[in-house]
């Protein structure tokens, strides 16, 4: 997946092909003069991208600025007026609400889901790639069947299952189904990464008399680190942003997660829009940090399973 954004700008935005300047340590690239057309400037593209910048930028600007505004000013001056009297009070209000607890709940749910998915998907993917057993191939077919099944389709029986198991209103009620629904794509991603491991490598380990467990630790885990990161991030995003499972399988504020908490704030704070925007901004913050630190991995995790 080559979706990492350009680290080294090679053609400036004007699109003019620059004269080749020798840079120490950088190998001069061939083919400079005839790059594909889409690498060069095009006016229509720039115009379209600018239009989209407005569609994306205005709501995000609104979110950010409004979260620092005084509620009375917001109501009096309108949504897009230049901000004055900026305040952090909205954030204080949110931090003094139940938000920190929702935050901790969400972190617990997210970490548990990632742990479960990696612990289950990795050995399964290894078996799917290496095993000659028919039963393992069947397992794969069954799991693939779950790829596009929407959670809504099974929420009623899940509700029955969770209440019967006495798990209603616990964090486990959110964790277990969320992890289960992240499994198919996770197994697909790990399977395609393990297929790229040369067969000779497995055979060499087997010749040494080592069993599958050794192979798991000496080959599978070291060689699928990138895929594991992808799966981890994909699962974490599912868990962090999950809505339906917490909505149906929990009720009590003590086990509430951020997504439900946000919805709750809308009722709780009503017209105090700046406070709600502060809550939305705070919910976004951890992912924003991840985005700034490891954009490549985050984007790979998001597009898990779509690369061909």
């Amino acid at each position: 997946m080559s979706n990492a954004a350009t680290e080294t700008p090679e053609i400036p935005a004007t699109g003019r092909i620059p004269a080749r300047r020798p840079v120490a340590g950088r190998r001069p690239r061939r083919r400079r003069a005839v790059g594909p057309w889409w690498q060069r400037m095009n006016f229509v593209g720039g115009l379209g991208a600018s239009a989209w910048l407005v569609v994306v930028g205005v709501p995000l600007y609104f979110l950010f600025v409004t979260s620092f505004r005084v509620s009375a000013d917001y109501l009096a001056d309108g949504p897009l007026s230049p901000p004055d009297n900026l305040t952090v009070e909205n954030y204080t209000t949110i931090m003094q609400s139940d938000f920190p607890r929702y935050f901790i709940n969400t972190i617990v749910v997210t970490l548990a889901c990632v742990a479960i998915v990696l612990a289950l998907a990795l050995p399964a993917a290894y078996a799917i790639v290496r095993s000659r057993k028919k039963s393992v191939a069947t397992v794969f077919s069954i799991i693939l069947l779950g790829l596009a099944v929407p959670a809504q389709a099974v929420i009623v029986p899940l509700y029955l299952l969770i209440t019967q198991a006495g798990l209603y209103d616990t964090l486990l009620a959110i964790i277990l189904p969320t992890a289960a629904f992240a499994l198919p794509l996770s197994i697909v991603v790990l399977t395609s990464s393990l297929r790229d491991v040369p067969t000779e490598l497995y055979e060499a380990v087997n010749l040494d008399g080592a069993g599958s467990t050794r192979a798991l630790f000496s080959i599978v885990i070291p060689l699928s680190r990138a895929a594991m990161a992808t799966v981890g991030i994909f699962t974490a995003m599912q868990a962090w942003n999950g809505f339906l499972f917490p909505l149906v399988l929990t009720q009590d504020p003590s086990v509430r997660v951020i997504t439900l908490g946000l919805w709750d704030f809308q009722g709780q704070f009503g017209l105090n829009v700046p406070v709600i925007m502060a809550a939305v901004a705070l919910a976004l913050l951890p992912l924003l940090v991840v985005y700034l630190v490891g954009r490549r991995y985050l984007l790979a995790g998001l597009t898990a399973g779509t690369g061909k």
């Binding site: 594909p36 790829l147 959670a151 299952l161 992890a179 962090w240 709600i276 779509t306």
Partner: protein, 300 residues
């Protein structure tokens, strides 16, 4: 996978037991419910007392449900329109962002920001923007001839508000797919075309688009599969209203099961969703080649 299984060749290879925990876990929380939902569709179940078998009554109710036709139609048009809108925007945008340069990197960084927001967060942000009294809608409304700015409360516009927000949520993701796929097109193809004297437009139609064929399919299938899960955006933005103007199938199922507590009939609606979802899974598996046992790097 080789069908000739020799007993010796399995030696040193992981067996079923390695895949067992995953399949048991997935079976319990995904497969079992998939089967159980079919059973529940033949029961009367309120969520409190145990389900009671009532035969095909729920299924007969399907024919007389005044909302189900509407919700299926809404789901279908939302799926079709969001596919159209999103593809028309993401294909060119992804190609544009595949280019190099500081401006494009910066634009891409901003464009992908909505990816970090949950559906709930996006819905809250937009429901604030759509507020006819204090939101952006109060400014935009009069400019486009809707003086009260009440788009979200209008039976005509609410559907398009939902379409806008859903597109806003998913366009970054598909743009990302197209960006990655465009960068993977072999540059030599363009070089050859340039030598042959093909212009930009010709290169676009005869190289870029054909080379992106797989991505157009993948992205399209994901959009369609994703449209089965549109839920919290609509629940928070409109609750399915005004009236039933935005009550798509998943929402109709939720309202029936968890607001009216008719979980038996909700299971009938869920079986519809399940059927569509499973068919899509099979289709996805086919078009993406997930099952292929060979390394995808082979031949490179």
């Amino acid at each position: 996978m080789s069908s000739r299984t020799q007993s010796s060749s399995q030696a040193g290879r992981p067996g079923f037991v390695w895949a067992a925990p995953a399949i048991v876990f997935f079976g319990l929380f995904a497969l079992l419910p998939m089967v159980a939902v079919v059973y529940l569709s033949f029961t009367s179940y309120t969520g409190i007392a145990d389900p009671v078998w009532i035969g095909a009554e729920n299924w007969r109710h399907l024919a007389s449900d005044p909302f189900v036709g509407n919700s299926l139609r809404l789901s279908a048009s939302l799926t079709a329109l969001s596919w159209l809108v999103q593809t028309a925007i993401t294909l060119p945008l992804g190609i544009y962002l595949a280019g190099k340069g500081r401006t494009r990197s910066l634009l891409a960084a901003v464009f992908f920001l909505p990816l970090l927001m949950s559906g709930a967060a996006i819905a809250l942000l937009w429901s604030t923007l759509f507020d006819p009294n204090f939101g952006l809608a109060s400014i935009v409304g009069p400019l486009v001839g809707v003086d009260d700015g009440n788009f979200i409360g209008s039976p005509t516009f609410a559907f398009y508000c939902v379409l806008l927000v859903i597109s806003w949520q998913f366009i970054p993701f598909h743009t990302l797919l197209y960006q990655g796929a465009t960068r993977a097109i072999p540059i030599s193809l363009y070089e050859a075309a340039t030598i042959d004297g093909a212009g930009r437009f010709k290169q676009f139609t005869s190289i870029t688009v054909p080379q992106l064929r797989d991505t157009i399919i993948t992205s399209g299938v994901l959009m369609i599969a994703g449209s089965l899960t549109y839920f919290e955006i609509i629940l928070i933005l409109t609750g399915g209203g005004p009236g039933t103007a935005t009550r798509i199938l998943p929402l109709h199922m939720y309202i029936t099961g968890f607001k009216s507590f008719d979980m038996g009939y909700a299971s009938v609606l869920a079986v519809l969703l399940l059927t569509i979802g499973t068919s899509l899974s099979l289709f996805i598996t086919k078009v993406t080649g997930y099952r292929k046992m060979a390394s995808q790097k082979e031949g490179l």
